[in-house]
C-alpha cells in the first residue's frame, strides 16, 4: 500500500527553528528581531543595516533578551521546567526541547510565524479532530450530529484542552518576552475586565453571516463550521502569515484568553509529535492523553419532544407504531404517585421510564428508547486510521447510520 509522505509535506510547519540545521539562518532571524520597544523609525534603520550584509553574522547587533518577543531557541536547553514537562508528557526523545518551547509560544506573544506555534497548532488541530471524530463515529454510528459536535467539543474542545494543559502542569507566563522561562506558556493576556466574546465574530467561512435571523441548519454547519459546529474565522491568506514581524501595527497582536492559548498549545504539541516522531507516536499520544478521559455520552442528549422523535424514528425504520403502556403504578391518588411506563413497538419493549405523572413517565421512556437507539455501539470497533499500521487486516467498511431523524 502506498502511503503519503507527510513528513516531506510538513516542512512548511517545521521552520528553521525546529530543524536541527540552519544555525546561521536562525542567527539571522533572531538578529533581525528588534521590534519590541524601540521607536518604529529606529527599528527600520537598524533593520536596513542588518539586511544589507545578509551573510555576515558578526554584524548582528547586541540585543538584550527583553527586546525579544519570545525566548531565544538557546534558552530551551537551559530550562529545567521545559525538560520536566517533556518528561512528564512522555514525549518521544526525537521531539527536541526547542520545538516544545516553540509550542509554548502563542501567536499573540510572537507574531512571527517562524517562532510561534500557529503552524504546529493547525496541524495538531486537524489530527486531533480527525482522530476524535473517527473514534466517535465508529464507536457510536447512530449518534445525532449535534451530539457528535458536543462530544467532539468534549474530547478536543478548547475547554478540555485548557483543563488538560493544567493537568500537564503547564504554567502561564505573566507577559511574554525573551527573558521568560521557555517552559511557561506565553501569550498576550487580556486586560482585566475585557470581554473576549463581546463582538460577534466577523469574517467567518459561513456565507451571509450578517443575516443573524436566518436559520442555521445542522447540515450547513457540517459544511461551513468547524468540528464543534461553531462558526469559524476564515483562514487568513498566506501573505498575512508571512514572517514580517516589523510590519506590526502599534497595537501589536490581539490578546487572547488563557483558554485559547492553552488550546493552541495542546494542539501544537500534537502537531509537533506528529512531525518529529511520526504518526504512530501521535496516535499513541492521542489515545493516552485524550481518549483515556472519561465522557458519558448518554448524558449529552437534550430532547425537545422525545415521543414525537421516537414516532418518526419508528416510521423511518419501518417499526410498528410505538405505544406507551403502564407497566406498574403506585399511589395514583397520593401526593407522590409513581408510574412506570414502557414504550412498546409491537411486542418489543423499546424503553421504560418512571415518572410522577403519566406524561413524564412516557417522555422518560421515549428518551430511554431513543438513547437505546442512538447509543448503539458495535462490539468490535475499528477506526480507519488503524489501517495505517503495518500489517493491518483488510478494511471492512464500518456501519454508519443515517443519523438523527428529521422532524
Amino acid at each position: 500500500m502506498k502511503r503519503l509522505q507527510l513528513q516531506r509535506w510538513s516542512s512548511s510547519a517545521l521552520s528553521s527553528r525546529a530543524r536541527t540545521g540552519g544555525r546561521l539562518q536562525r542567527h539571522l532571524y533572531s538578529g533581525t528581531r528588534l521590534q519590541s520597544t524601540n521607536s518604529y523609525s529606529l527599528q527600520d534603520q537598524s533593520l536596513g543595516q542588518q539586511l544589507a550584509p545578509p551573510s555576515a553574522t558578526s554584524d548582528v547587533p547586541k540585543f538584550t533578551k527583553r527586546q525579544l518577543p519570545s525566548p531565544p531557541a538557546e534558552a530551551a536547553r537551559e530550562s529545567a521546567k521545559l525538560a520536566a514537562l517533556h518528561a512528564r508528557l512522555y514525549l518521544p526523545s526525537r521531539l527536541p526541547l526547542e520545538t516544545l518551547a516553540r509550542c509554548l509560544v502563542d501567536a499573540s506573544a510572537d507574531p512571527s510565524a517562524q517562532f510561534n506555534n500557529q503552524s504546529l497548532a493547525v496541524l495538531g488541530n486537524d489530527l486531533l479532530s480527525n482522530y476524535a471524530s473517527e473514534h466517535l463515529i465508529c464507536t457510536y454510528p447512530r449518534l445525532p450530529l449535534t451530539v457528535i459536535f458536543a462530544a467532539m467539543y468534549a474530547y478536543v474542545g478548547p475547554k478540555t484542552l485548557l483543563a488538560m494543559s493544567r493537568e500537564w502542569g503547564v504554567e502561564h507566563a505573566a507577559a511574554p518576552g525573551g527573558e521568560v522561562d521557555p517552559g511557561l506558556l506565553q501569550y498576550k493576556r487580556l486586560d482585566p475586565g475585557a470581554k473576549p466574546d463581546a463582538e460577534p465574530l466577523v469574517g467567518t467561512t459561513r456565507p451571509n453571516e450578517d443575516q443573524t435571523t436566518w436559520r442555521r441548519s445542522i447540515t450547513s454547519s457540517v459544511v461551513y463550521d468547524n468540528e464543534f459546529g461553531d462558526p469559524e474565522r476564515a483562514a487568513s491568506p498566506p501573505a498575512e502569515l508571512s514572517d514580517e514581524p516589523f510590519l506590526m501595527n502599534d497595537k501589536g497582536p490581539a490578546p487572547v484568553t488563557p483558554e485559547a492559548a492553552s488550546a493552541t498549545f495542546a494542539r501544537a504539541v500534537m502537531g509537533a509529535i506528529y512531525l518529529h516522531a511520526g504518526r504512530p507516536a501521535a496516535k499513541r499520544f492521542f489515545e493516552q492523553h485524550f481518549l483515556s478521559r472519561q465522557l458519558d455520552i448518554s448524558k449529552m442528549f437534550n430532547f425537545q419532544q422525545p415521543a414525537r422523535d421516537l414516532t418518526r424514528l419508528c416510521a423511518r425504520e419501518n417499526y410498528d407504531e410505538p405505544v406507551a403502556k403502564i407497566i406498574s403504578e403506585t399511589g395514583r391518588r397520593s401526593r407522590t404517585p409513581v408510574f412506570v411506563v414502557g414504550i412498546f413497538s409491537g411486542v418489543d419493549k423499546l424503553g421504560e421510564g418512571t415518572g410522577a405523572s403519566l406524561s413524564e413517565a412516557r417522555a422518560r421512556a421515549s428518551v430511554a428508547a431513543l438513547k437505546g437507539w442512538y447509543l448503539y455501539s458495535p462490539l468490535e470497533v475499528r477506526v480507519p486510521s488503524a489501517m495505517e499500521e503495518d500489517g493491518a487486516a483488510p478494511w471492512k467498511p464500518v456501519y454508519v447510520d443515517l443519523g438523527e431523524v428529521i422532524v
Partner: protein, 391 residues
C-alpha cells in the same frame, strides 16, 4: 598614679554607691569587703610600699619576695614617656658603657659560649637588647622561597630539577641535603640540569637515573656537584687553580665560585626579581614522576629541596602518605585548586548533575524578583514604576 591604684580604681565607685543605697542582706554580705579594701588602700596611699607588694611579702614570708616587683607591667605609658624625656641624655652613657663592656667580653679570648644554663648568673642579654643596633645575625633570610610558585609549569620544573640534583648526589654518594646550600643555580647550570632526562631503573631507583644529553654535560654537572657541600670555597679555589679542561668548565667553575660567595652575602646583594626558572618552559621528559620516595632519607631530601624551590610546605600526614614524586606533584597541584567551599560551586562543577536537564542550580538566594523576572512580570512592574515616576 601607681599601678595598683590604677587597678583598684575601677571598683571604687561601685563600693561607694553600695554604701548609700539600700542593699539586701545577701548582697551586703558580698558587698562588704569592698569598701574595706578601698579604705585599706586609701590608708596606705601615702605609703611607699603598695598593697600588692605587701601581700606578696606576706605570701612569701620574706621582705624580699622573688619575682617582679610590679607584676602588672611596670609604669604606664605616660609615666614612661615623661621619665624618658627627663633622663634620656643621662641614660645613653651607661648604655654605651655596657655595650663597650659587652664588646670587651666578646673579644676576650677566653670567652666560651655556654651550652647549658647551669652555673650562669643570668640567662639572656645583659642590657636591653632592643636598644642595640641590628647586627648581621639579626637579619632573617627565609630558607625557602618567599612566594609560592603556583603555575604547574614551575612546579614540574622544580620537581624535575630536584630529581636531577638528588639522583646526581645519589650517584656521587654525597649527603643529599647538601644541595639545599645552593639556593638558586645560575642560568647555564640550570640549563644543563633542565636538559637532563630521568629514566629510573626498575622500581623507581634513584641511582644513576639521570640520562645526560651528551658527555660534556655529564662532566660539567658531575664537576659542579662534586663541589657542593663541604668546603665550597676551597673547592672553588681548587677549581680556579687547576687549569680547567674546557672553557665552559672554567666558566661554570667561576659561576659556581661566584655563586658560593653570593650565597654567603645574600642579604647584601640586591636581588633583582627574575622570573622563576629563568622563564624556561616545561620539561617534556616525565620520567621523574616515577621516582620512588620510599626511602625516608631521600623523601626528606626531596621534600626539603622541593619546598625550598617552590615555597610549598607539606604537613606531616601528607609526608607520611607520599611514596613517589607523582604523589608530591598531585598534592601540590591539588593545593592549587582547593575544593569549592560553597555547595553551589561544587554542584555546578559536577558534570553528571549538569548533564541532567531537569536540574537547575542557583548560586544566589532566589527572591520574589527572580520569580517576577522568570514570569516576565518584572518588565511590566518596571514600566509601571517608570510611568509613575517612582524609579
Amino acid at each position: 598614679m601607681r599601678s595598683s591604684l590604677r587597678l583598684l580604681n575601677l571598683e571604687a565607685p561601685a563600693s561607694q554607691r553600695s554604701r548609700n543605697l539600700y542593699v539586701c542582706s545577701v548582697c551586703r554580705h558580698e558587698a562588704r569587703p569592698r569598701p574595706f579594701v578601698a579604705r585599706q588602700f586609701l590608708r596606705h596611699a601615702s605609703d611607699s610600699t603598695p598593697i600588692t607588694e605587701r601581700v606578696r611579702r606576706k605570701l612569701w614570708g620574706t621582705d624580699n619576695p622573688p619575682g617582679l616587683k610590679d607584676p602588672y607591667g611596670g609604669e604606664g605609658v605616660f609615666e614612661r614617656k615623661f621619665k624618658r624625656g627627663q633622663s634620656a641624655p643621662q641614660e645613653n652613657e651607661p648604655e654605651a658603657a655596657t655595650e663597650a663592656a659587652e664588646d670587651a667580653v666578646s673579644e676576650d679570648s677566653s670567652y666560651e659560649p655556654a651550652t647549658t644554663w647551669e652555673g650562669l648568673q643570668r640567662v639572656g642579654h645583659l642590657g636591653t637588647w632592643s636598644d642595640l643596633p641590628p647586627t648581621k645575625a639579626d637579619a632573617y633570610t627565609s630558607f625557602s622561597l618567599n612566594r609560592r610558585l603556583t603555575k604547574p609549569v614551575h612546579l614540574s620544573l622544580a620537581a624535575h630539577q630536584t630529581a636531577v640534583e638528588l639522583s646526581l648526589l645519589h650517584t656521587l654518594k654525597k649527603p643529599l641535603t647538601n644541595i639545599c646550600d645552593v639556593i638558586e643555580h645560575e642560568q647555564p647550570v640550570f640549563k644543563l640540569i633542565r636538559n637532563c632526562k630521568i629514566q629510573p631503573k626498575s622500581s623507581g631507583q634513584w641511582d644513576s637515573a639521570v640520562v645526560y644529553p651528551d658527555k660534556e654535560t655529564e662532566e660539567a654537572l658531575v664537576y659542579i656537584f662534586e663541589q657542593i657541600g663541604g668546603a665550597q670555597e676551597a673547592a672553588a679555589e681548587v677549581a680556579t687553580e687547576v687549569a680547567p679542561e674546557t672553557a665552559e668548565d672554567a666558566e661554570l667553575a667561576e659561576i659556581e665560585a661566584a655563586e658560593a660567595e653570593d650565597a654567603e652575602f645574600e642579604e647584601e646583594v640586591p636581588t633583582t626579581p627574575s622570573p622563576p626558572f629563568f622563564g624556561y618552559r616545561d620539561v617534556k621528559d616525565k620520567g621523574y614522576l616515577d621516582l620512588s620516595l620510599n626511602d625516608p632519607i631521600t623523601k626528606f631530601a626531596f621534600l626539603k629541596r622541593f619546598s625550598q624551590l617552590t615555597g610549598h610546605f607539606f604537613p606531616d600526614p601528607v609526608i607520611h602518605q607520599i611514596s613517589s614524586v607523582q604523589h608530591v606533584m598531585k598534592h601540590v597541584l591539588a593545593e592549587q585548586n582547593p575544593k569549592p567551599k560553597k555547595l553551589a560551586d561544587f554542584l555546578v562543577a559536577d558534570a553528571s548533575l549538569q548533564s541532567l536537564p531537569n536540574v537547575k542550580i542557583f548560586a544566589k538566594k532566589q527572591k520574589p524578583s527572580h520569580k517576577d523576572e522568570e514570569l516576565g512580570r518584572k518588565k511590566l512592574i518596571d514600566a509601571e514604576l517608570r510611568e509613575r515616576g517612582l524609579v
